[in-house]
Symmetry: C2
Subunit: 339 residues, 2 copies
């Protein structure tokens, strides 16, 4: 007989207009579902919070369907199998799943990936060894293609994507310039992660500092923020530079279309400098995932890739933590310790 678990879940109560506020969310309780034959019951241990979730809150066609109003917020999770009626999963297995902002979920096993808790802390499956790390790896290597001696710039450099981008650039022999918010994050990026320079985007002379840190221009700009950082990066882009675009957190709250119109200058420079701009989502490169898991685990072991996690305790704090993420308050890969 199923246990009387109470599932706590955070639903999208209403779509935000512009900036996300706590009113967009609602915590609800309901009996946890009971696994049918061929299913497992999962207890969520960690919930990943990521910028892409902001896009899912809008009622707009993008690369994925929006979260329906009233539905559980979407998200990657690390779970423990606590009941199994599935031949391939046993009670106690730790799995990566996409169970969303809740404490329990059932699964028929599709899309679950077992995690070895001995190999690395299980939360890393949401960060450096998970979607953010893979975003960095696939986008940088496939589209950015940094070469030895080139200059790679990435924003949100203390975050899980940015930190991996810069460190992988280093492994490939390129210079890594990180942009981050505030002196503490910049110190971490430069001293702990070993970037060649870290620039604080809050600095009044941010653009000048960035230019000084890139005396030979920028060959790869890994775009994950958009907004004002772009304006500082744009004039520094070199001939034949590459701009993989994986995120635009600065404009997720809505498009600011006040002029001047920056499109004509962009196109002019794209032409004159033969710049490549290319959007991507990590699952476009899903066939590279086995290679990623192998290489990244090795790099972590060798100390070539370091990472930092920002773990917040308790599902009920997910809305507040997520809102903080959108304004850069997290420091490292943000995840919720659910149980």
């Amino acid at each position: 007989m199923a246990t009387p678990h109470i599932n706590r879940k955070i639903i999208l109560k209403q779509r935000p207009q512009g900036r996300v506020t706590p009113e967009a969310f609602e915590l609800k309780e309901a009996p946890a579902p009971t696994p049918a034959d061929g299913q497992v019951l999962l207890q969520v241990r960690y919930l990943s919070l990521d910028p892409y979730m902001r896009g899912r809150m809008n009622d707009a066609k993008s690369y994925s369907e929006p979260v329906a109003v009233g539905a559980v917020m979407e998200g990657g999770t690390v779970c423990e199998v606590i009941e199994s009626r599935h031949p391939k999963f046993a009670v106690g297995d730790i799995v990566l799943s996409h169970s969303g902002w809740q404490t329990y979920a059932v699964s028929d096993g599709k899309g679950l990936r077992k995690i070895d808790p001995q190999a690395a802390p299980i939360s890393t499956a949401l960060g450096v060894l998970g979607m953010p790390g893979f975003t960095a790896y696939s986008g940088l290597l496939t589209l950015g293609q940094p070469k030895a001696g080139e200059t790679v710039v990435v924003a949100a450099a203390s975050g899980p994507v940015g930190s991996a981008v810069g460190q992988i650039a280093h492994i490939k022999g390129a210079r890594a310039i990180g942009i981050a918010g505030g002196p503490e994050k910049c110190a971490f990026v430069k001293n702990e992660l070993g970037f060649d320079a870290a620039i604080d985007h809050h600095a009044p002379d941010f653009a000048e500092q960035l230019a000084r840190a890139c005396p030979d221009g920028i060959d790869v700009y890994f775009e994950n923020v958009g907004g004002a950082v772009w304006d500082a990066v744009f004039p520094l882009l070199n001939t034949f530079s590459r701009v993989p675009v994986c995120g635009l957190i600065a404009q997720y709250d809505g498009l600011k279309t006040d002029g001047p119109d920056r499109l004509p200058a962009l196109m002019q420079q794209v032409l004159a400098k033969r710049i490549m701009l290319r959007g991507f989502i990590q699952f476009d490169f899903i066939d590279q995932q086995p290679a990623f898991l192998k290489e990244m685990a090795q790099w972590i072991k060798e100390g070539k890739v370091k990472y930092r996690e920002d773990i917040v305790d308790g599902l009920d704090r997910a809305p507040e933590a997520f809102i903080g993420l959108l304004s850069g308050k997290n420091f490292g890969k943000l995840a919720i310790k659910v149980t």
Copy 2:
């Protein structure tokens, strides 16, 4: 002893501010230069007029140096060797060169390519079998990569680049949609060149017509004009679409930066649809030129690629013809018959 040829040349008298006017140019006469040992004297037969020349008139760093004020305007030419002190060239040889807007020039042979006048009309070395044809070939095949069943859109479709883009797209099994100015050009694009549709960008419902002609969206937009056409194309771009950017004739007279700012929406769609935008200049792909010459000559022979030339008689008409080119007055590849 050198012959007493008089060289007529058109110089850049002053840099245009915005729209080009005849005052930017001046016709001058001077004795033709005398070839030294190892040089040839060339008499210009055809001068190519191309949109890129507008960029050279500005004092702005681009992929090439600007033409100096007082210097002869730059341009590709088909010439006849009329004196030779070079072992590899004989009097009477027809060569492709970059001799500019003038009637005579000397050359040390570097960059000259002999043309076989029996193979095709020599003027085609400036058009379908020259730089414009190669721009279409290299940009479309290397960056656009049209696949069977996909939709390829190109503007200035009756011009030398656009007409080749659409016809090569057809050869690769893609649908070809051309944009051109006026009913006469559109009829030519559809009926003579065999595009699947031709849309008149002067039509008040241009954007709606384009959308109807592209019921499955746009997979490749070969950007050679910029301006208003882009706004009609942009919402139709498909997931994983490719946008090779080889020209922006609509904005060569200066950047209009009046809002709204279209950059945030561009970046949003680049991300959501994983669009690739990539500028190029045909000489980036110069190693493909032998393959181009072979394939294009074969396609012309087989009737798979047709072309149209717009030949204007007399060097003194070059400024007027060039100004017309910038506003789309030419109909086919524009060249000046110099002698």
